[in-house]
């Protein structure tokens, strides 16, 4: 009986309790000036999350844990952002609602449109168009040209390209028998991907270049029959790294700031040392929400949100977040293993690798484990395009978790 009570319902109710408690705390925090906005934001957050969790179970026959894990991550993120800056918190909530809407839209699009594996040229073309748009219309922000401004709205095209790259790789390896007829097709693929990485490098978006490279090499490692290519890839990475270090200043600066940030504490090492101070200040259980000093950390809403969470909610929450990402990636791999359609299998794999790699790069960066490159923490950081693209990716993962070959059998019987 106890088992039945815990099954299925328990994580959802825990999530609900977490949100209610944290919102209550936020009300007390601003007790002198509780306004309508705070209440609306709070109720909005709870409503959106509970409703979408409920809807998903009704709609999808696939995995229902991934969305649950993600809603926990977005709850922690939104509460932290709201605590730092109320205006941004409300904006984040709007982004989240759009993201969840997009999640459901992606789910239906990917599910009911057939033939995703045949449009490889479209994906490659779209990626190049996005890159050139960035070069022509892009504006320089924090040393990297990766933003396009359209009126009040600005977005990062690379966030879409990183999904397109997963599609390119999936449609290539799903139709590998067709591509094998062309001589050296895998080299052409490699050329295309490296041209993307080079373009990102020219835009100085090093974090994104790293994500692209790691997705590419992971999928190639799993599916490429010509094992020489993997060695070439690793060789090229080493050569590229050495060239980048010696020729480009911004690579060198990041590397030096990683090796010894204390030496450059007033300049390049400032971000990372502030992040380390914040994490150390928090200790095991944190300072308590609203009692820390997250304003000292630069970029605290986006890249360094993890440090702020660690400061106010403790390293235990930090470890919890890392565990949540681990479960998410594990679920993604399990979805990939049980999926029988090759295209969706590689797609699920690519997206799980994307989530894993993206969180690894930024968490490693803020903890000074690897050189810091500015990318967002998926689902937690503030940021429109990052939230939207993460939710699109999640929608694709949700479709992949269903039995696509089974659905085809049923369709045939209906015809």
């Amino acid at each position: 009986m106890f088992n039945k009570a815990i099954r299925g319902k328990s994580p959802r109710s825990l999530l609900f309790i977490f949100e209610v408690l944290s919102l209550f705390l936020l009300f007390v925090y601003q007790n002198t000036r509780v306004d309508r906005f705070t209440i609306m934001t709070g109720i909005g957050l709870i409503l959106i999350i509970s409703l979408s969790n409920y809807l998903l179970i009704k709609i999808s026959s696939g995995d229902n844990y991934i969305f649950l894990i993600v809603t926990m991550l977005i709850s922690i993120g939104t509460i932290m952002i709201y605590r730092i800056d109320e205006g941004l918190g409300i904006k984040q909530l709007i982004w989240l609602s759009m993201g969840i809407l997009l999640f459901f839209m992606t789910y239906f699009f990917v599910k009911y449109i057939k033939g995703w594996q045949n449009w490889i040229y479209l994906y490659v073309g779209a990626s190049y168009i996005l890159f050139f748009m960035t070069f022509i219309l892009g504006s320089r922000k924090k040393g990297a040209i990766n933003w396009i401004n359209l009126g009040n709205f600005s977005f990062q095209p690379a966030e879409i390209t990183k999904l397109l790259i997963v599609f390119i790789l999936s449609s290539y390896y799903a139709n590998i028998s067709k591509w094998k007829e062309i001589k050296n097709a895998s080299y052409y693929l490699m050329g295309v991907i490296y041209s993307f990485i080079l373009l990102l490098f020219l835009q100085r978006d090093l974090g994104m270049a790293m994500i692209f490279y790691l997705i590419f090499i992971s999928i190639q490692f799993i599916y490429e029959e010509d094992r020489k290519l993997i060695i070439y890839n690793i060789g090229l990475l080493i050569i590229g790294g050495i060239i980048g270090y010696t020729m480009f200043d911004h690579v060198k600066i990041r590397f030096q700031a990683w090796i010894n940030p204390w030496k450059y504490i007033d300049r390049q090492g400032y971000q990372i040392t502030q992040s380390l101070f914040a994490i150390a200040e928090g200790g095991f259980f944190g300072k308590g929400l609203g009692l820390g000093h997250p304003y000292f950390i630069p970029e605290v809403y986006t890249d360094f949100i993890f440090s702020a969470i660690c400061e106010e909610m403790g390293i235990f929450t930090g470890i919890g977040i890392i565990m949540l990402y681990m479960i998410l990636v594990y679920r993604g791999f399990k979805i990939a293993i049980s999926q029988e359609e090759t295209f969706f299998r590689i797609l699920a794999l690519g997206i799980s690798i994307l989530f894993g790699v993206q969180s690894l790069i930024i968490l490693g960066g803020v903890l000074k484990m690897i050189p810091l490159t500015g990318i967002t923490l998926p689902f937690i950081s503030y940021g429109g395009s990052s939230i939207l693209s993460s939710f699109i990716a999640l929608g694709i993962l949700q479709v992949s978790s269903e039995e696509i070959s089974l659905r085809r059998v049923q369709d045939e019987q209906r015809d």
């Binding site: 299925g8 994580p11 007390v28 649950l68 308590g288 929400l289 929450t317 059998v409």
Partner: protein, 143 residues
């Protein structure tokens, strides 16, 4: 006042987050336990279409078929389903010369093959859907 509350709440938050992680891991554990590895030499099996956590009784995701397989509420069947809708002996699948046949064992509520109730012994082919009450199985047979 606020400080005391914030300090109290930070412990509660950590406990809730870990309980959440624990309950998800528990669900995943149950999920994995429900899967039975299909050995590569046996490619004929029944696959449950429903999600295991949507059914209020114990059931596995895969059942491999050797020479025969029976489903019913009584304990000596291959698939035991503790659902009042299911008869004590509900249906059986028999193998004969590499072909598989489905037979209803005079169950009260009937067995449905691809949406139609069966009365005779029916030959099964790959992709057939067998339904008993709410439970749906996919018949998979690969050469």
């Amino acid at each position: 006042m606020y400080n005391i509350l914030a300090i109290l709440f930070k412990y509660i938050f950590i406990i809730i987050i870990y309980l959440f992680i624990f309950s998800i891991i528990r669900l995943i554990y149950l999920d994995i336990k429900g899967m039975e590895a299909i050995s590569s030499d046996n490619r004929t099996y029944l696959k449950l279409i429903n999600r295991t956590d949507s059914l209020p009784f114990k059931i596995k995701e895969h059942y491999s078929i050797d020479d025969s397989l029976t489903l019913g509420r009584r304990g000596d069947n291959h698939i035991v389903v503790k659902d009042p809708y299911v008869s004590k002996e509900h249906f059986q699948i028999i193998e004969d010369e590499e072909e598989y046949y489905l037979e209803d064992l005079n169950s009260a509520n009937g067995t449905y093959l691809n949406g139609e109730r069966i009365f005779d012994v029916m030959k099964l082919k790959d992709g057939d859907i067998i339904r008993v009450g709410k439970i749906e199985f996919l018949f998979v047979s690969r050469e």
